[in-house]
Symmetry: C3
């Protein structure tokens, strides 16, 4: 992705002081938008789901570990957490080396203070999401998905923060009566609904 | 709303290769911002409230239906949900045709994967919000309001995602002792506080 | 912070109708982005933490007061809430004048409908966060932190809305075995983990 730092803009503004007024207005506007938006595409290996959220405090890592490990006997998971002060390290834990590596890699690329990333397999978001939302350090959850996921990260002079996600694709239409029947029967076939 | 696609920009960049260096920096910057922000204004009919959130998985529709229908005997509601993969349909349910139509229309216009919209009447957000937050597919809630609501939607090459809302208007001042008394008594008049 | 209003842009567009095609495309693009992003840096006095969230309805203030005051005998706190319709006042409460002032000041600067700000001392986010998430008016929490905090606020023709936060700084690396041991022992030293 192409980038243009504030320094570039500063230089640019000086260059253009000789240019006609109209263009100066344009450069002022761009200086206002000193927030850069970065689109971070997360890799989601087959049969895994990713959960991205924000918490506070280093205790997050142990508490997320404990809540996930007790959620089911089958779950495999990896956690990454971006410590936002002090040593500012990506903290990590889990019970599967590959998933821990995936979570740490995602944290490196998101690189936003107090953001955590969890990869899970042999388990699904509905098995763990309410537990995660209830962890006492967790502020909010941005996404839980197996779809292609883009994390939108704003970057300022101080650091970075997640502003949203693009989770999968946009809708193509509205379901028909036939689609409703299919949806109804799929959930029963999965055993998710009676 | 005016739009300018990535293709337009690509062409533009080629055009300007002959132009002086200063302007090239400007085009690089705009290519960086390949995230378009769309402002979607939701219609909120009289005596209704809207709740906008994000979840995951098609089961959301039935679980939201069940949690809302059991929240009070009086509630009327419509649910729309943007399926983000597979058939990518706007899924819908509820117990009031008009409110279902409102929810589906809002989903069409937001058009962001895994986003849901709920319209309620004969019920208020405080009657249902904690139930909705606890639905096991629900990732987060963006707004619950009867105010004019603008949903800010980011659009990338992959799809769309909600980044925030403008819920009502900005404040005009700070409450005085007199305002505090009035606030206190209004809540007692409503029967909301003892 | 430099700003450029829609009016400026309107005038600008007229000015440039005489200019070559290439630059017209640029002005169309900027009109599309009529969302301004404002970076609001919150002051966090020593030994305090700040919690920023979004709710709905004026009852928020009393309910947050009650949930905070009952969270521990020691807590000192101040609450500010941006009423989004009607009188549109910043509502406030708490048990410490300085913290109430901090919360009101933060609300003045964020100035986004239905946003609340809480400052706490003699208490930590982990002591109150789950209580706050469970308040029936609370839609979501954006941040809970003692780090330098920037609140990213989008501004449209209608009003303002929080789109994200920069909470502390970006990570510098990944923790080593040595760092893990230190993290483990710090939490035990604090008495937070057995």
């Amino acid at each position: 992705m192409l980038t243009c730092t504030d320094e570039d803009l500063g230089v640019q503004l000086k260059h253009d002081e000789v240019v006609l007024d109209g263009f100066l207005i344009f450069f002022l506007l761009i200086l206002t938008m000193s927030v850069k938006i970065d689109v971070v595409r997360l890799e989601i290996p087959e049969n895994t789901n990713v959960i991205v959220g924000q918490s506070h405090f280093i205790k997050t890592v142990e508490d997320l570990y404990e809540t996930l490990v007790s959620s089911s006997p089958s779950i495999k998971f990896g956690i990454g957490f971006c410590e936002a002060s002090g040593k500012r390290l990506i903290r990590k834990d889990g019970n599967d080396e590959k998933l821990i590596t995936s979570a740490v890699d995602a944290c490196k690329r998101i690189a936003a203070g107090h953001v955590f990333v969890i990869y899970i397999s042999n388990s699904f978001p509905i098995n763990v999401l309410n537990r995660i939302k209830s962890v006492e350090e967790v502020v909010r959850v941005f996404a839980a998905t197996a779809n292609p996921l883009q994390v939108l990260v704003a970057e300022t002079d101080q650091g970075r923060g997640v502003i949203g996600v693009v989770d999968g694709m946009t809708p193509l239409g509205v379901e028909t009566e036939e689609d409703v029947k299919e949806r109804y029967s799929i959930l029963r076939k999965f055993g998710y609904k009676k």
